[in-house]
Symmetry: C2
């Protein structure tokens, strides 16, 4: 390697500093210059909702090391040997001469920086729709420290009561919780028929009900048409009516900030991000791109995707630095793993959703598997609703979604590891996960779900999803919807058109049921429903199915008695 | 398959009922008889410490389904189609005639049960040493519901104050916590030089200090010589002095209960368990063995091992049933994954420990990696101390140990999945684990630890373990023990013979240090220590090493200022 290699990095939030630090580690003689448009460096963008919520008290915490040292230009120079030019904008890349033209925003002066290797870490930018009234005050995105500061200042005067969050994705629901926690009345307005498109519809429904139970209004399939008001926003117009508001949070997504790259003629992908190879190199061999400004490869579909996340940014920064310093390293891509906290729920997923998997050409089987996340008799056990997405042909796990008060993150991480290793559900069901009652059941939720998947793939059980059952009901199909819970449970809450025969009595009362008619069994989580189907099939009933996931996964309204 | 296949199962706690239920599912016509010596069926043995602690209120909860139905003989008959003979002891297996002689303990009558397939699920039994006075009252093992009931009754009269727990393994520390929680003064006496042999010594030291901080006395390398007293035990004699006590818990381990199998001439392994193949078949093709009575294959070493756990028992039961019913299934073995709660700590591990790995012939590298388990600025972040065990040749992950108030179980499960897939630390460092500040750092602890391992394997950093540093100190080696934390941190707590130069000042103050002398850098978790080593090496210092894990992993006494 050229010992005096000059590296210029554009972007100082996540992937940029990581890349610089690693380069300094591998090539201490390299001259590293980091250019950042904003004031602040290396801050935790993902922590902004918690700063708005007041859970994280001071902005400073988001840009400090664990022992409280602020990562400012002096820190980077002293510790990482990186020269930082903050409040400096990169204006143009001259690939011919390997120079970057930068503009010092403090002094308004321009100069050029020469590079041997250039790293683009320009991040993403929030999508701001061109809707009438968008320029009014108290309409915020949540992308940088300044946004969060503005929202907190807006809340501080005590006159913000009603808030509309436009967009029900990860940031939208995190902000809904943050603002509800600050005493605001929050309405989430989402254009799609469901919130949280990282989840399949029925899983998102469970989260929606939890948001609503916590006092957040949710409007789906709703389009914002305008922001009324004076200097400040006062009212949001939607195709489902107007909403009074004192503040609007725009959270309809982000796009790669690839303007510089595009203008320099680098290859850009279909999501608008810089195209990179597994070494994080762009179409110019001396220019790398890392973090939210570039596209990733999906490890299952092998197609490009755009999943902006701080975790990915850090990994990509390390890979880029390794390659820049002559150490071969390849980023294998992402699985779209994501998680967020929504009040008492954790909401996580990895791999492909059901519809993504179908679209990618897989022969999809799904499992809905609710259950306690720990030994059911242990007092801290909490419900966890899981969905597995499986390829019928190869028996491979394609995806997992987990929501509820139980420990979703643990199951998502095990599944993400399993998917990266191309594990089948058979492999999954034999995993030696750690077990003790305060942490899991003897059969962990993942292992139970994998066993259900194996039963389905092996044709040992016929199932219908709750959505399929509902469609049958709505069509007026003639079938017996057999609830096998106890009379007490049935009295407290029953699904429409259901017949009760408790599991313990079923062997004796089989004769009450017609042998040729379609029977769909269920219970709270459909474990007893599964037992019941076995009993009936063994007795010669011809058409017995289990409703996957039971009442716990019924995504429609449930009437309490 | 023979539709009227007769199956006899001996043992009704975990693996036996599971096997029976699955057989009934696959072959509803099979005649299944389950023989259990005790009164109770299908109870959660792993929950007994929590019943003693009072966290689980009633015995009944340990033997009920999640909706509170007690799994008694009627339940098994009605729901699982299994005939249960409880309080019935299997006396002898006649392999020639395929019969089991059983003794009805209620009536004292004997009879024979014919089988086509026999399943041994006879479990394990606690080791009871032949020490003088062992017969006195208030000396308990913790193996069955009756043991736990006896302990609770002993506690109930209010005269039990001092308890000695003999054995510092999983059950021993769980019982220490349970009894301390009931107001007892607890002393753990362990024969080995450390508690919790599932962990390497330095990891066990961290747990030991936590136990001591919670008021539990721990004596290691101590041998019990006798139990003095009258009708009741009053004093435990050890080679480290006598201990007054009102109750003794014996928790020195369990052995496979394989007497029946041995007497029937089945092959028995070196741990005393029934030898089985991956289909769970014993040396007799019509006899299967599942759960704690049999030995398992270790997935890494491919050697037999004995790891009695309810999680494994359930998996093995399913595999045995599948094979009995003609569906091929193979149990791939175990990784020795285990976890327990020790007051505020979770203590988990999977795979091989450092010394096990060396013994198995691997070229071992280790990483000690402490850090917060969530984004450090998120208020619920808690420390987690991890150790990775890696094979230098193949770069494969061999084991992970995790202790602390942080979420150890999540990291153990991801590691168990990775090890099952033969992942290298390079694979591990690229995993797409789910990230949001309430659940992890942008670089999860596992990914950071994997990156440290990669740095070590690639020769990018030289390290010493705290134990190696301590040995150098004790030998009187001449080296600089360079603490690079802040003066405030140093003032609060410093390691012996250490020199302070804060990281931020190191570039300017390098000259104070001799270039040729060995320097060992560290900080709280050795992240700054790692930065410091990089700075010094870049400045031409010849012999710079980092102390792995920093002060957080220093297993010796730390003097608060």
């Amino acid at each position: 390697m050229n010992k005096k290699m000059r590296v210029v990095i554009i972007g100082g939030v996540a992937a940029g500093p990581k890349t610089g630090a690693r380069i300094n580690r591998l090539c201490p003689e390299a001259e590293i210059t980091l250019v950042e448009k904003g004031e602040f460096l290396s801050y935790a963008g993902c922590g902004l909702p918690y700063y708005v919520a007041g859970i994280v008290r001071a902005q400073k915490e988001l840009m400090s090391t664990p022992i409280g040292v602020v990562r400012d230009p002096v820190f980077f120079q002293k510790v990482k040997n990186i020269r930082v030019l903050n409040r400096t904008e990169a204006v143009r890349i001259d690939r011919q001469n390997k120079e970057v033209l930068v503009n010092d925003l403090r002094q308004g002066t321009r100069r050029t920086l020469s590079y041997d290797k250039l790293v683009l870490a320009t991040g993403a930018k929030p999508v701001v729709p061109s809707i009438e009234g968008i320029e009014r005050k108290n309409i915020f995105t949540l992308h940088c420290v300044e946004d969060a500061g503005g929202i907190r200042a807006g809340l501080a005067d005590g006159r913000v009561r009603d808030v509309v969050v436009v967009g029900g994705g990860l940031i939208g629901v995190e902000m809904a919780e943050a603002l509800a926690g600050r005493g605001c009345r929050v309405t989430v307005v989402e254009k799609l028929p469901q919130i949280l498109p990282i989840l399949d519809w029925e899983m998102a429904q469970i989260v929606r009900r939890h948001l609503e139970a916590k006092g957040v209004s949710v409007k789906t399939a709703a389009t914002v048409q305008g922001f009324e008001g004076d200097e400040f926003v006062r009212r949001v117009q939607t195709d489902q009516g107007d909403l009074a508001c004192d503040m609007v949070i725009l959270a309809i997504g982000v796009r790669p900030n690839a303007t510089l790259a595009r203008e320099a003629g680098l290859a850009i992908g279909s999501f608008g991000g810089v195209t990179v190879d597994p070494t994080m190199r762009s179409s110019d061999p001396d220019i790398y791109a890392v973090g939210d400004c570039c596209e990733s490869l999906h490890r299952i579909t092998r197609r490009p995707c755009f999943v902006p996340l701080g975790s990915t940014a850090n990994k990509q920064g390390r890979v880029a630095a390794n390659n820049i310093c002559g150490r071969e390293d390849r980023f294998p891509g992402v699985l779209g793993s994501a998680i967020c906290k929504v009040f008492d729920f954790a909401v996580g997923r990895t791999g492909l959703g059901e519809y993504q998997a179908k679209e990618a050409g897989f022969e999809v089987r799904t499992v809905l598997c609710p259950g306690p996340d720990k030994a059911h008799y242990y007092p801290t056990a909490r419900p966890l609703m899981m969905k597995l997405i499986v390829d019928a042909g190869s028996r491979r796990l394609l995806g997992l979604q987990a929501v509820g008060p139980g420990a979703a993150d643990k199951r998502v991480d095990a599944a993400a590891t399993a998917i990266a290793a191309n594990m089948t559900v058979d492999d999954l069901s034999h995993l030696d996960l750690c077990y003790a009652p305060p942490y899991s059941s003897a059969m962990d939720n993942i292992i139970t779900a994998a066993n259900v998947a194996r039963n389905k793939l092996d044709g040992l059980v016929q199932t219908l999803t709750p959505m399929e059952v509902k469609r049958k009901m709505d069509k007026g199909d003639d079938f017996i919807f057999l609830d096998v819970r106890s009379p007490q449970e049935y009295k407290a809450l029953a699904l429409p058109n259901s017949t009760l025969i408790p599991l313990g009595a079923l062997r004796d009362r089989c004769e009450e049921l017609p042998k040729e008619k379609e029977i769909v069994t269920f219970c709270k989580i459909s474990l007893r429903g599964y037992e019941a189907a076995g009993i009936l099939s063994a007795r010669g009933f011809k058409d017995v199915k289990v409703m996957d996931g039971g009442i716990a996964m019924w995504p429609y309204e449930k009437k309490q008695a």
